[in-house]
């Protein structure tokens, strides 16, 4: 009995701990400015979508959102196009230096973004792709890719090579066996890691702010506009940032589990 009460108590504590900021942010983003600055008031008398509307429409938030979606899409596409074959090779083949490659993939994450950002701008200027969404997507790919390689390695190693070999025996080429046997089996896990990659790109603010001026992604745009605006705009920005990520995670929780190999069956 005491144990049960304790568990319930702790659960509530954890939920409150995580949800309070979220609730406060969303609430503040919906509070009219006169209520927000009224110190005698905690809860607003009425709710308004005004801040969200202004931020999203007037301050070009929708364009930044579209930019963010495009960047994330490109980054995911690029990192899977290169990361999936890399993961496949690391799982299915034995070759000299394999472990070294596995480890050094992680090493790329140990460079602070700050160090890469400035040389990156120089390179982009030379290539003539500075201030484009593609350039941001490339930069995002650089930190999503190692993650994708490692995750696909773990997902693919959870799928018996014999399924693929059976496919090859019964009439498929190696590529065909991968596409028609292994890929469908890996899909839940891959979808999960794609979502994770999406969130990594969606939340990335530093590189995006440095690399773009006109074509800003959502976090960069918010940093530029909302952060110099009244508080309730900042909260509105937070809400806009959080909602897509939370929606994604809500619908894909069980896939996120399979990404770590917990339930591949």
């Amino acid at each position: 009995m005491i144990k049960k009460v304790f568990i319930v108590f702790v659960s509530i504590l954890v939920i409150v701990w995580f949800l309070t900021p979220v609730v406060l942010i969303v609430l503040a983003s919906l509070t009219p400015s006169e209520d927000y600055y009224n110190q005698n008031r905690i809860l607003p008398r009425k709710l308004t979508l005004d801040h969200l509307y202004k931020l999203f429409v007037v301050l070009n938030g929708w364009r930044a959102t579209l930019n963010s979606l495009q960047v994330a899409g490109m980054a995911i596409g690029l990192s899977f196009l290169t990361g999936l074959p890399a993961g496949y090779v690391l799982t299915r083949y034995v070759f000299p230096g394999k472990n070294a490659i596995r480890l050094s993939i992680l090493l790329t994450r140990s460079f602070p973004t700050l160090i890469i950002a400035v040389p990156l701008i120089m390179i982009y200027l030379k290539l003539g792709i500075s201030d484009t969404l593609f350039s941001v997507a490339l930069a995002h790919t650089s930190f999503i890719l190692p993650f994708v390689v490692l995750i696909t390695t773990s997902i693919l190693s959870g799928i018996s090579v014999e399924y693929e070999e059976a496919g090859m025996i019964f009439g498929l080429s190696r590529f065909g066996a991968f596409m028609r046997i292994t890929l469908p089996l890996a899909l839940p896990g891959l979808a999960a890691s794609a979502i994770f990659a999406f969130i990594m790109s969606w939340n990335e603010v530093f590189i995006s702010s440095i690399l773009t001026f006109v074509n800003r992604t959502l976090p960069a745009q918010i940093l530029n506009t909302a952060m110099t605006s009244p508080d309730y705009f900042k909260f509105a920005a937070g809400t806009i940032m959080a909602i897509p990520a939370m929606t994604f995670i809500f619908f894909t929780r069980k896939y996120l589990m399979s990404m770590w190999g917990i339930s591949l069956k």
């Binding site: 018996s160 014999e162 070999e165 025996i169 019964f170 009439g171 498929l172 080429s173 089996l185 069956k265």
Partner: protein
């Protein structure tokens, strides 16, 4: 259906010589078992035949067509995997139909064939299920159905029974064998289980260290082992081995060591005539050592020792005899009355003795 011919096949993994010169010819329609301990190369050989493994050197022919460098899908082979490898994202029907779909068969033909294969393996009522809903034995039937449905030139099986429980394994043994006889497909079957090999194979290839030690019928392998490895690997309990020396005395050949002096029967003596003063290894199977002299045969050698240990298996009793420090194992009837610790005189049937060279282990008789 096809004849399989392999010439001087080699497969190296780095410095490891998994296959070191395999020559074998498997006749059309035969059930051939590749038998050997773990790491002997039997699975590698099977994978080379399937095309899943690229060979380092040598040639493989199906009938007169060389397939050495063909990819698996162009060889017209099929395979039953140790893990069955039944595709988990397809229903049983799809699993069996998929090879034909890849090859572009029309729908009616596919259906007819799937129904036939499912019927043959008694899995007709499972066609609408996913593999996850099947037991191990059922999954295996699906794997076999998928393998026979295309009527392959060669059917390959990689320890297909090793994941089943003991009882099911015994019944599947006869079922697979009967199935192969019925469809008549040349079959190559890998196992480390000698009982499986003896009961299922028309012929057995015993492998060790990447080389085929002996290729022959189960009778040949058992009664006329080509070398000391085959003699020791086949048969349970293992054959007894004794080091002896060939001595000629008054024109009669004796096999001798410190504890034994066996006068060789004439027919045996003729075969090792020129091996005077050579060291040999004498091998005799446990069932050829008796408690009483067999009346029909006359050539016996008595050994006497203390019973060290007995294993009562019901139908048989395995007696471990301490013969002057050497452990001799004998297989006697189950109802034999022997106590541990007692002194026992036993008789080796000299007509059943095997002799092996100490140099290369090859059988002399």
């Amino acid at each position: 259906m096809a004849r399989v011919k392999i010439e001087n096949l080699k497969k190296y993994f780095g410095n490891v010589k998994a296959l070191n010169g395999i020559d074998i010819e498997i006749k059309d329609g035969k059930f051939v078992v590749l038998l050997g301990p773990s790491g002997c190369g039997k699975t590698t050989l099977l994978r080379c035949i399937s095309g899943l493994e690229k060979v380092t050197d040598g040639k493989i022919f199906f009938d007169s067509v060389e397939v050495t460098n063909l990819s698996p899908r162009n060889r017209n082979v099929s395979m039953v995997f140790q893990s069955y490898a039944v595709w988990p994202h397809m229903k049983v029907y799809e699993n069996i139909a998929y090879p034909m779909r890849i090859k572009g068969y029309d729908k009616d033909k596919i259906k007819e064939k799937v129904v036939w294969a499912a019927d043959t393996l008694n899995i007709s009522e499972l066609l609408n299920r996913y593999p996850a809903q099947l037991s191990g034995g059922q999954r295996q039937r699906v794997a076999v159905a998928r393998a026979i449905v295309l009527e392959p030139a060669v059917l390959l099986m990689d320890e297909p029974l090793s994941n089943l429980d003991a009882l099911l394994r015994v019944s599947m043994r006869s079922e697979l064998k009967k199935l192969q006889e019925r469809i008549g497909t040349t079959t190559i079957y890998v196992t480390h289980d000698q009982v499986e090999a003896m009961t299922m194979g028309d012929e057995i290839a015993v492998m060790h260290n990447g080389v085929i030690q002996q290729f022959g019928t189960p009778e040949d392998i058992y009664h006329r082992p080509a070398n000391i490895f085959v003699a020791g690997f086949i048969g349970s309990p293992q054959m007894n081995f004794l080091e002896v020396e060939v001595i000629r005395k008054d024109n009669v050949l004796f096999l001798r060591n410190e504890d034994l002096s066996i006068k060789l029967p004439k027919d045996l003596a003729e075969k090792i005539e020129n091996d005077d003063n050579k060291k040999l290894i004498l091998g005799i199977r446990p069932e050829d050592i008796h408690k009483e002299k067999d009346k029909e045969s006359t050539e016996f050698e008595a050994i006497e020792g203390k019973v060290y240990f007995t294993e009562r298996l019901g139908s048989d009793t395995i007696v471990h005899l301490d013969f002057k420090g050497i452990r001799i194992v004998s297989k006697l009837p189950g109802d034999v009355k022997i106590k541990e610790g007692e002194n026992l005189k036993m008789y080796m049937d000299l007509g059943k003795v095997h002799l092996f060279s100490t140099v290369d282990g090859k059988a002399l008789i």
